[in-house]
C-alpha cells in the first residue's frame, strides 16, 4: 500500500457559484428592502441617498430608518440560521432549531425579564443596553440546558426532543406574556417583538451591538469547522476518530445559545429561520461545515430581509411582525420534515 495514488479530482459542483448566487440574492433583497416602504424610492433617488447625496428627507429615510432595519434583519437572520445549523449538528436532529427547542423563547424571556427588572418609572433603562444580550443569553442557556436534560432523560428520539422543546417554549412564552401584562403599559407596544419577532424598531445601536457579537462568534465557528465535520459521523465513530464528542456538542450548543440570544434581544423570537435556512443551505451545497456556515448565514439573512419586505408591502400601513411571515413559510416546511422524520423512525 505504498503506492501513492492520487484521488481523482472531484467533479466541479458549482459550490462557489451557488454561494455567489445566494450572496446576490441577499444584496438584491437588501437594496429592495431599502428602496421599498410606505413611500417607495426609485433608483435615481435611492442611489444618491445611499452615498450621502440627494434630498435631505431621502437620506433620512434611507440611512435613519431603512438601512438599520435591513441590516438588523440580515444580521438577525444570520445569527438565527447559524444557531439552527449548530443545533442541527450538535443534536444530529434535522428538526432542531432555536425556536423549535424553546431556546428563542427562553432568550425572549431573559430579555423581557431584564427590561422588567431594570427599567425605571420614566421608561429608561437603569443599566446599559448591552446587558440585554447577556440577559437573553442567560434565559436561552437555562432553556437549552433544560431541554437537553429533559430530552436525554426521557428518550424518545428526534421527535421527543422537539416535544420537550415545544413544551418549554410554551412555558417561556407564557412568562413573556405575563411580564408584558404585569410590566409598564408602554411595553405592550413591544408585544410584536417579544411574542412573534419584529425588526420594526431597528436602531443603529442595535446594529452595532449585533455586528460586534457576530464578529466575536464567527471566528469561533471557523475554528470549529473540522469538529463539525466529524460530528456528521455517529457518536461512536466520531469518538473513535479522535473527537471529544460530548465536549464538542456542548460547545456548539453554547454558541447556538449566544447566537440565538443575540438575535432575539434585538428582534425577538423570529421563528423558523434557524430551521429552514440550514436545510436550504444543505440542499444547495451539501453537508461540509465551512460552505454550510456561509450558505446558512446568507440564506438566513436573505430570508428575514425578504420576510420583512413581505410584511411591509402586504400589510402596510400596519406593522405585522416579521416572525409571522417567516412562520408562514417555515411552519409548513417544519411539518413536512416532521412527517418525514417520524416515518423514518417509526
Amino acid at each position: 500500500m505504498t503506492a501513492v495514488a492520487e484521488i481523482p479530482r472531484a467533479p466541479a459542483h458549482g459550490r462557489a457559484g451557488r454561494l455567489a448566487a445566494l450572496l446576490l440574492l441577499l444584496v438584491a433583497a437588501a437594496v429592495t428592502g431599502i428602496a421599498l416602504g410606505s413611500s417607495s424610492m426609485p433608483l435615481d433617488r435611492l442611489l444618491p441617498a445611499l452615498v450621502g447625496q440627494g434630498a435631505e428627507t431621502d437620506r433620512l429615510i434611507v440611512w435613519g430608518l431603512r438601512a438599520p432595519r435591513v441590516l438588523l434583519s440580515a444580521l438577525a437572520g444570520m445569527a438565527l440560521a447559524l444557531a439552527g445549523l449548530l443545533l442541527q449538528r450538535a443534536t444530529r436532529n434535522p428538526l432542531a432549531a432555536p425556536a423549535v427547542l424553546g431556546i428563542s423563547d427562553g432568550a425572549a424571556l431573559g430579555a423581557v425579564g431584564f427590561l422588567f427588572l431594570f427599567s425605571d418609572a420614566a421608561n429608561a433603562l437603569t443599566v446599559g443596553i448591552y446587558w440585554q444580550p447577556v440577559a437573553a443569553s442567560c434565559g436561552a442557556a437555562v432553556f437549552a440546558v433544560l431541554v437537553a436534560v429533559l430530552a436525554r432523560g426521557a428518550g424518545g428520539g428526534p421527535v421527543g426532543l422537539v416535544l420537550h422543546g415545544f413544551a418549554l417554549g410554551a412555558l417561556a412564552k407564557a412568562g413573556v406574556t405575563l411580564l408584558m401584562i404585569a410590566g409598564p403599559v408602554y411595553r405592550a407596544s413591544q408585544a410584536s417583538i417579544w411574542l412573534a419577532g419584529s425588526v420594526h424598531e431597528a436602531r443603529w445601536s442595535d446594529v452595532a451591538v449585533l455586528t460586534s457579537l457576530m464578529a466575536l462568534v464567527l471566528p469561533m465557528l471557523l475554528v470549529l469547522t473540522a469538529r463539525m465535520d466529524q460530528l456528521l459521523l455517529d457518536d461512536h465513530s466520531a469518538e473513535a476518530s479522535g473527537l471529544p464528542v460530548r465536549r464538542t456538542q456542548a460547545l456548539l450548543m453554547a454558541l447556538a445559545v449566544v447566537l440565538t440570544a443575540s438575535a432575539v434581544s434585538f428582534v425577538g423570537a423570529i421563528g423558523f429561520v434557524g430551521l429552514v435556512a440550514p436545510h436550504a443551505a444543505r440542499l444547495l451545497i451539501g453537508a461540509r461545515a465551512l460552505p454550510a456556515i456561509a450558505a446558512s448565514a446568507l440564506a438566513g439573512a436573505a430570508m428575514v430581509v425578504l420576510a420583512d419586505i413581505a410584511v411591509r408591502l402586504a400589510f402596510a400601513p400596519l406593522e405585522v411582525p416579521t416572525g409571522a411571515a417567516t412562520a408562514l413559510i417555515g411552519a409548513p416546511y417544519f411539518l413536512f420534515i416532521l412527517f418525514r422524520t417520524g416515518r423514518a423512525h417509526a
Binding site: 500500500m1 505504498t2 503506492a3 501513492v4 495514488a5 492520487e6 484521488i7 481523482p8 472531484a10 467533479p11 471557523l222 475554528v223 473540522a226 465535520d229 466529524q230 456528521l232 459521523l233 455517529d234 461512536h236 465513530s237 469518538e239 473513535a240 476518530s241 479522535g242 473527537l243 471529544p244 451539501g286 453537508a287 461540509r288
Partner: protein
Amino acid sequence: MHDRSRSNEEALKLSAAAAGYDERLVFSDLDLSIARGRVTALCGPNGCGKSTVLKAMRAMLPLREGGVFLDGKPLAGWAPKALAREIAMLSQSPSAPDEMTVADLVNLGRYAHRRGLARKGTADRQAVAAALAATDLAGLAHRPIGTLSGGQMQRVWIAMVIAQAAPVILLDEPTNHLDIAHALDTLSLVRRLSHEEGKTVVVVLHDLNLAARFADDIVFLKEGRVAAAGPVARIFHAQSIAEVFGIHCRVLSDEETGRPFCIPLAARGR
C-alpha cells in the same frame, strides 16, 4: 514496515479490568492480552461482553477497576486525538449522511492527524488515496455513500479506519450485514493489513469458521470472562466450543489451508 522481531509481543492488555453500563457489570477481574501484529478474533455467545471488551480496550468505556495498557503504558487520561492516532475502531453500525461522498467520509479518518486549523495536507491526501486503493474504492471516490451497496459501504468504513493510520485496529462485527463473498473480501483485507503492514487487529466475529479461517489468535469469551485464548490451532477444538457456546460440534481440518473448521451438530441437552 512490519517489524517481525516485535511480533508476538503484547500490544494491548486489559488487566484486572471491570466495566459495565449503569447498574450492570459486564465483566470484572478480566485479564486479556492481544499480540502485536496479529489478527485476534473475539468470539463468544450473544451478550458475553465482546463489544464491551472492545470499547474498554479503546478507552471509550471508563473502567471501574483495573487498567488498559498500550505497549505497557496505561491508557487513562490520553488526549482524544493522541488515542485515535494509536487505536482506530469501527463500531457495529456506523453512520454518516447519505449525500456525503466516499472520499469525504474516508477523509474524516484523518481528523486525529490534523492540528488546530490546519487544512487537508499532502499526507492526508496520500493516506486517503492509499486507503481507497487498498479497499478497491478509487473508482467510487466521488460517489455519495447513499448510492453504495452494503458490501461497498463496509469497505468505505474500513477505508476510513485505514486512513486513520493507527497501528492498532479494533473491528466490531465487520461482517455483520455482509453476504459470504463480501465477508471473505473484508476479512482478507483485514488479514492483509495485519500481515503486510504489521497492524494489530482485534475483530469481533460471530461466525466461528470465519474466525478460524482468518484469525491468528482466538479469544473465547463467556459471561464476561476469558474461557480460552491463544493461537487458533491450539484453541479451536470441539471441547472449547462446546464449553463456550453450549453446542455439540465436530472440528475438522481443511487439507489445503491447514485451518480448522467446525460443523455444528446440535445444541447441548437437546
